[in-house]
């Protein structure tokens, strides 16, 4: 985007201030953009991934116009409730704790086991070692309860980098996120435990007062489950994984 255009936008902004009539409403889809293959910023600088494709199709079926915005994981729920965007579609597991603050649609990705990843050959005791996890995730809460020492990071990238640098003995994160990283590490990293079942499925978060939007999204997800679209998308983005809804 040309910068001058943005400057010129000041005038448009003033106009927006005065505008009273709103045409068809645009739904702003909030995501993190740092959690491949769920969501990431592709090489063109746009939001991409399983949730991008899924979200666009959901909006199409629900007859909604959607745009994508990114927000740090840390403040993704506060910015939803204060109205900066209308949905969270960011690989967020449905948990009771979150459900008290926001509402969820039905799941569009089944409960995914979390995995511990460590340097190859390192003997790690996951019950007493130092484990890295992303802040405000189900994994961070799980590690804290398991008796191990948890070190938290703002982005998923940093949690893995901490293992590489030796700051943490192992990282706990979603299996689907860690698998491609382990595969690409040329044997540097290995999965030591991939059967940690925590959290429910992944759903789309909406404000608690937004029942109408939630119902529309819910119906679209149900129809995509029924005709196999979701299963196809999961197979495409998650290395041929088979999920039958």
């Amino acid at each position: 985007m040309n910068y001058l255009v943005k400057i010129a936008g000041a005038a448009a902004l003033a106009a927006a201030f005065a505008a009273t009539a709103v045409s068809a409403q645009t739904i702003r889809m909030g995501t993190e953009g740092a959690y491949p293959p769920y969501n990431f910023i592709n090489d063109q600088g746009e939001v991409d991934g399983y949730e991008r494709e899924l979200g666009d199709e959901i909006c199409k079926r629900a007859g909604l116009e959607c745009t994508w915005v990114t927000n740090e994981w840390d403040s993704i729920i506060p910015n939803l409730v204060s109205g900066n965007y209308d949905t969270i579609i960011a690989g967020m597991s449905i948990t009771d704790e979150r459900d008290q603050v926001i509402d969820f649609t039905q799941e569009y990705f089944p409960p995914d086991p979390s995995a511990y990843v460590a340097l190859t050959g390192a003997s790690v005791d996951i019950k007493s070692g130092v484990i890295s996890a992303q802040t405000a995730t189900i994994q961070a809460a799980y590690v804290a309860e398991s008796g191990a020492t948890v070190v938290e990071f703002a982005t998923p990238e940093e949690t893995v980098a901490a293992v590489r640098s030796g700051e943490a003995d192992a990282v706990l994160a979603d299996f689907a996120y860690l698998k491609p990283l382990v595969d690409a590490s040329n044997g540097e990293l290995e999965i030591i435990d991939q059967s940690v079942m925590i959290g429910g499925g992944v759903g789309m978060g909406v404000r608690e007062s937004d029942n109408e939007l939630r119902d529309k999204m819910d119906a679209a997800i149900a129809s995509m489950k029924a005709d196999g679209t979701i299963s196809k998308l999961i197979a495409k983005w998650f290395d041929g994984r088979v999920v039958n809804y």
Binding site: Y3, K6, A16, D43, Q44, V69, E208, S209
Partner: protein, 287 residues
């Protein structure tokens, strides 16, 4: 960007780099430099206006105005920047939306606060929900300008207040002896002599302002550091240009950039200082 970039997997060496460094994501990275630099430049006038308002009201003979000046400089300086950005600007944003809600949607009956949710009618959204993304970004940019302006204005007000008090009293008395009005004394003697005392403090603030720009991300403006972290992160085969963790390289580049910016600022400040010291009865003015 280039035509041969269509299939990056087949590229090697220089060709790969030329494509990698010009892909859409890097363009966003380069553009963020323009955003940050223009934010710095555009915020300075706001800072100086607020600084003069704060400093002069603290010197005012009118008591409530003096209270206001003292309140502004001490309160804002006492609050950590990050809290100011998270709280004051979100409050400002919601305040604007609330006012728009009251004026634009008088028929709306649902409460604005529903549990955790802050809900205004769609017409009152700021910016409107259906405005394009760049309007949202511009609004974030605007909020950032206000935020930096208010915070750094308070610090600069204190600097100017001290500098105004540092000008030797005899200089002002000379003005009186020449029969100048208070306004003339301020404009011709007090203000020109004040800069020498203010500049070291102001140059400090400028440096701190440069370093504070990563706070922009809190307001949804994608700043330089955000992009460096995003670009440097490990890229698996799902990306067109896979690579390992290159954050160190990107951050080194930022280090060089920020040092360069500091160096240029130092030169500019040295020039201004020698200019305003000319003929002054200070150590700097005698050489």
């Amino acid at each position: 960007m280039f035509e041969y970039c269509a299939d990056p997997k087949t590229l090697e060496g220089l060709a790969w780099w030329s494509c990698y460094l010009t892909n859409g994501k890097h363009m966003g990275f380069y553009f963020s430099f323009v955003v940050v630099l223009s934010l710095l430049v555009m915020t300075v006038p706001i800072i100086m206006v607020l600084a003069f308002a704060g400093a002069l009201s603290r010197r005012s003979s009118f008591l409530p105005l003096r209270w206001f000046g003292t309140l502004y400089t001490s309160m804002v300086r006492g609050v950590p920047d990050i809290i100011f950005f998270l709280f004051a600007l979100i409050a400002l944003d919601q305040g604007i939306e609330y006012l728009r809600h009251v004026t634009l949607c008088p028929d709306w009956t649902e409460p604005i606060r529903q549990g955790n949710d802050f809900r205004v009618c769609p017409d009152a959204k700021m910016p409107l929900g259906n405005s394009p993304q760049w309007v949202h970004e511009f609004y974030g940019f605007f909020l950032a300008m206000v935020g930096f302006g208010v915070v750094f204005g308070a610090f600069a007000a204190n600097t100017l207040y001290g500098a105004l008090a540092a000008v030797p009293h005899a200089q002002l008395e000379t003005g009186v002896a020449f029969g100048m009005s208070p306004r003339q004394i301020f404009r011709r003697i007090h203000l020109p002599q004040m800069w020498v005392y203010a500049l070291p403090g102001l140059s400090n603030l400028w440096m701190i302002l440069i370093k504070a720009t990563p706070l922009l991300f809190l307001l949804g403006v994608e700043d330089i550091v955000y992009w460096a972290r995003e670009l440097g992160g490990t890229k698996t085969a799902i990306f067109q240009y896979p690579h390992s963790d290159w954050r160190l390289g990107y951050f080194l580049f930022l280090l060089v950039f920020y040092l360069f910016l500091t160096w240029v600022s130092e030169i500019v400040f040295a020039r201004i200082t020698s200019r305003v010291s000319r003929g002054q009865s200070t150590l700097g003015g005698t050489v």
